[in-house]
């Protein structure tokens, strides 16, 4: 949890839940797992407010609780992890994806669940139906069954999942909600890893729900009441058979979808549309058979791919084979060949594709920030790994003075590192080789932190701009409210224009400019979030592959050790 991450999380919590939750949340982020008393004591906030803040955080999955480390009977400890809070940045992308895949109904379901954190199926369906009905013409309303079917589809494709059940408050019980095991806890044995939602067999099982009816349209006079009731769960006297079963959005599934999209668009950019369609088909076929952390999909035979291609792509079989061969020959190695049976077995290399995309991101940053010649040097070092100053000048065909200047600039920004190789043990500068090199993984991590800082800067600027024009915004809101009430009570046009003119023209201009600024900052946040997603996926994918390699290495070492032992015991 770096300083930049904590700062960004604080800003996000403040925007979505208010300052009190921000205080409690950042305190937990900085301090690790703490119990209630410590939190109250250190933040100076009253017990009531701290409890409510913790409720909000738990409801949204940002905070987990478990029994204290001092054994049974010790107070419950709360812990926050910034990963979940940083996801808030990505909410617009989740909602938009749901809209493209499942239409308006899907969009609203996801939006409701993101806003509420956890909700029962019946509750969601009713709320969404009401909202959809609100936007429809008079006299029409949305049937619950339509919304239900959209919900089923979302669950089928794993975009929604059940929240893991809480088995009471017994500290001994290991059935706590999904929580990342804190690395420094000595008491927690390694074997009882916290259960993920997927470890429960009913994770994607839709309960039998009796839900018949249609969405209710809110009448205008009920507006005031509705505002008050909006945040509280609707107290329905009806029960629908699914009490206690809450649903949440499955972020990992969305992330797999985004990853697939990134790979497909990279193929489309590099090669052509047809190749990207083939890769899309392959990824779709492997959606359920490939684990999220796998480096490549399960092998698919060319015959299967041919059968699964969308019907609009009427390409003959030999042409498909040609496209597959081209995909394999491409230096980016999106697709690999895993065997010859079934007309050729092909896999999509997801880890390699992510690594290439991360590399392209790094190169793009260097290019935009320092110019195309520095980018040439950067790419050269990525390819050739270690080079002396002279070799860099020769390969890149840049005059010596300028090349030196660019290398030193990149070095000062930590994008390029210097490796010393001494010829003599005393590291004398005249007798040492100095080689320039680029390490992709640490550079990606550094850029990721820069991204977090950038987003935090954008958010702060947005808040600043709003604060500057606060007076003006309040005035315009008041005038809008007056206008709305006048219109509702049937006022005359002159009265309406009189009220409208209370805002002067320059003020209108200022408001318009403010609106543009805020939109620009908002969309910039989303764009940086795309970069964040690519870099995070690459770092996580590399971490999991290297972990597997490390485990193998340890096993091997262990064996050698035992053999030596045996040898020494065998009567030498």
């Amino acid at each position: 949890m770096t300083a930049q991450e904590v700062r960004l999380c604080g800003l996000l919590l403040r925007e979505h839940f208010g300052e009190v939750v921000e205080k409690v949340g950042t305190h937990l982020l900085k301090g690790g797992a703490q119990n209630l008393r410590t939190i109250i004591h250190e933040t100076g906030i009253s017990l009531d407010l701290v409890k409510k803040s913790l409720c909000v955080l738990v409801q949204h999955g940002a905070c987990v609780f478990r029994s204290g480390r001092k054994g049974a009977g010790s107070p419950t400890e709360y812990q926050t992890c910034c990963d979940r809070i940083l996801r808030i940045l990505r909410y617009p992308r989740y909602i938009y994806t749901a809209k493209t895949l499942y239409g308006d109904t899907g969009e609203l379901i996801i939006e409701e669940l993101l806003q509420r954190g956890h909700m029962t199926m019946s509750g969601t369906i009713k709320t969404v139906a009401d909202r959809l009905t609100q936007n429809m013409e008079e006299g029409r309303s949305m049937d619950y069954s339509e919304v239900s079917s959209a919900f089923f589809r979302l669950v089928e494709t794993h975009f929604l999942q059940r929240c893991p059940p809480l088995a009471g408050a017994e500290p001994k019980d290991s059935a706590t909600p999904a929580a990342p095991a804190p690395p420094g806890t000595p008491a927690a044995p390694v074997s009882t890893a916290p259960p993920t939602p997927e470890s429960f067999p009913d994770c994607y099982k839709v309960p039998h729900v009796t839900l018949v009816g249609r969405g209710k349209r809110q009448l205008a006079s009920e507006d005031g009441e509705d505002q008050r009731n909006a945040k509280k769960a609707k107290m329905d006297s009806q029960t629908h058979g699914d009490e206690g079963i809450c649903w949440q959005v499955n972020f990992e599934r969305f992330h797999l979808h985004f990853r697939d999209q990134a790979i497909i668009s990279a193929v489309a950019n590099k090669l052509d549309q047809t190749s990207s369609e083939i890769v899309r088909t392959m990824l779709r076929m492997s959606e359920v058979t490939t684990s999220p952390t796998a480096t490549c999909t399960k092998p698919l035979s060319a015959n299967e791919i041919f059968r699964s291609l969308p019907t609009s792509y009427n390409i003959p079989r030999p042409i498909l084979d040609q496209y597959l061969t081209l995909l394999i020959d491409d230096p980016m190695e999106f697709v690999g060949k895993a065997g010859e049976s079934g007309g050729g077995m092909y896999v999509v290399n997801m880890h390699r594709a992510l690594a290439n995309l991360a590399r392209a991101t790094l190169e793009s940053v260097v290019q935009e920030r320092f110019g195309s010649r520095s980018a040439r040097i950067f790419r050269l070092l990525l390819r050739k790994r270690h080079l002396e100053q002279k070799q860099v000048e020769d390969f890149a065909m840049i005059p010596a003075k300028e090349a030196k200047d660019m290398l030193y600039t990149l070095l000062s920004q930590n994008l390029v590192q210097l490796q010393e190789i001494p010829k003599t043990p005393d590291y004398a500068p005249s007798r040492t080789f100095y080689l320039y090199t680029v390490n992709q993984l640490p550079t990606a991590r550094m850029l990721l932190q820069n991204c977090y800082k950038t987003v935090a800067n954008l958010v702060e600027r947005r808040l600043f701009e709003s604060k500057e024009s606060k007076r003006l915004l309040e005035k315009s809101q008041r005038i809008e409210a007056i206008l709305a009430s006048l219109q509702a009570s049937g006022a005359e046009p002159e009265q309406l224009t009189e009220v409208e003119e209370m805002i002067t023209a320059p003020e209108k201009q200022q408001l318009e400019a403010l609106r543009l600024h805020i939109n620009k900052l908002d969309s910039a946040e989303n764009q940086v979030d795309e970069t964040i997603f690519l870099l995070e996926s690459y770092i996580n994918s590399t971490a999991s592959t290297s972990l597997l390699n490390d485990i193998d290495g340890v096993r091997l070492e262990g064996q050698t050790h035992i053999d030596l032992d045996n040898a020494s015991r065998a009567g030498h």
């Binding site: 990279a266 950019n269 590099k270 052509d272 047809t274 042409i319 040609q322 496209y323 061969t325 081209l326 230096p331 980016m332 290439n356 995309l357 392209a360 991101t361 190169e363 793009s364 940053v365 290019q367 935009e368 920030r369 195309s372 980018a375 040439r376 040097i377 790419r379 050269l380 390819r383 390969f395 890149a396 065909m397 840049i398 005059p399 010596a400 850029l447 820069n450 991204c451 800082k453 950038t454 800067n457 954008l458 702060e460 600027r461 600043f464 400019a513 543009l516 600024h517 620009k520 900052l521 910039a524 989303n526 764009q527 940086v528 979030d529 795309e530 970069t531 690519l534």
Partner: protein, 291 residues
């Protein structure tokens, strides 16, 4: 009767005459003459005068001073080189010797003749009438010690345009994908021929030069290369293989981070809320928002 030797009467007081006589003797004996020979020829010559004449000739560079087991030898110098040496002194003569021996690779010393590329800050000198070797002058990219970056840039762009148009033609041909890709490739020989025919280079470029330019295009991320096996004797093949190049498209658009002012900000590390440089008072942001 004593043999009357008909001798050319030399005016012994004329130093030039003495010198000329010594020169004639040298020409007579191309392997060199000793002091004794001169003495025999001009017995009336005072040793002092003889020494003066010899020294004069040596300093003029018309005579070579050599040593063998029996003593000193004087040899006629090559006329051509002798004229060149006019005006230089003994030290320079030795230097000249070294340079000549070094042949056309030049040698590192400090006087006369054509200064050549100094990439390593050492001035290299060589004989005027020899063609400097490629490694010393820096090849086609250097003219008079300056690295011609504009020339390299122009070549870079031309090669890229050639490969790009070839790829476009292949794409528009709407044939099977394999044929399309293969026809978008160009061998280094083809590119070399195109550039030579363009005539933008006043220096002759070899295929190796073109390959270094194409490599810079690879490092620009605009071009990719494959190597294929080729029959010996096919045009452009080297050691049984050919290098093929083709223009490629970038794999992503410029990433989101660089579309914000913070991604390009030179004072990014100094910026924090409440400081001199902060998001609230950032001038780059203000400019960008009003754009």
């Amino acid at each position: 009767m004593a043999e009357v030797k008909v001798k050319k009467e030399t005016n012994l007081s004329d130093a030039t005459e003495v010198e000329n006589r010594i020169k004639q003797l040298c020409q007579q004996f191309p392997h060199g003459i000793t002091d004794q020979v001169i003495q025999n020829d001009m017995p009336q010559l005072e040793p002092q005068q003889r020494a003066m004449a010899i020294n004069k000739l040596l300093s003029l560079g018309q005579l070579d001073l050599l040593r063998n087991s029996s003593g000193l030898l004087y040899r006629m110098k090559d006329v051509q080189s002798a004229s060149k040496m006019k005006g230089s002194d003994n030290q320079e003569k030795l230097v000249y010797q070294v340079i000549e021996d070094a042949g056309n690779k030049g040698s590192k010393t400090w006087i006369i003749h054509m200064p050549v590329r100094c990439a390593s800050k050492k001035k290299v000198y060589m004989l005027y009438n020899l063609q400097p070797d490629r490694s010393v002058t820096g090849g086609a990219w250097y003219s008079d010690q300056d690295f011609e970056s504009e020339f390299v840039e122009v070549l870079n762009q031309q090669c890229f345009k050639f490969l790009q148009s070839k790829a476009e033609v292949a794409r528009d041909s709407k044939q099977s994908p394999m044929v399309q890709r293969n026809s978008s490739f160009a061998t280094s020989h083809e590119v070399w021929k195109y550039i030579s025919e363009l005539g933008i280079s006043k220096v002759d470029l070899s295929m190796d030069d073109i390959e270094t330019i194409l490599n810079t295009l690879i490092y620009d991320g605009k071009v990719e290369m494959t190597v294929i096996a080729a029959k010996e004797g096919t045009v452009g093949s080297v050691d049984g293989q050919m290098k093929l190049y083709r223009g490629v498209n970038p794999v992503i658009q410029p990433t989101g981070l660089v579309r914000t002012p913070c991604g390009l900000c030179p004072v990014f590390d100094d910026c924090h809320e409440g400081g001199e440089i902060s998001p609230s008072n950032c001038i780059y942001m203000t400019e960008w928002l009003d754009f």
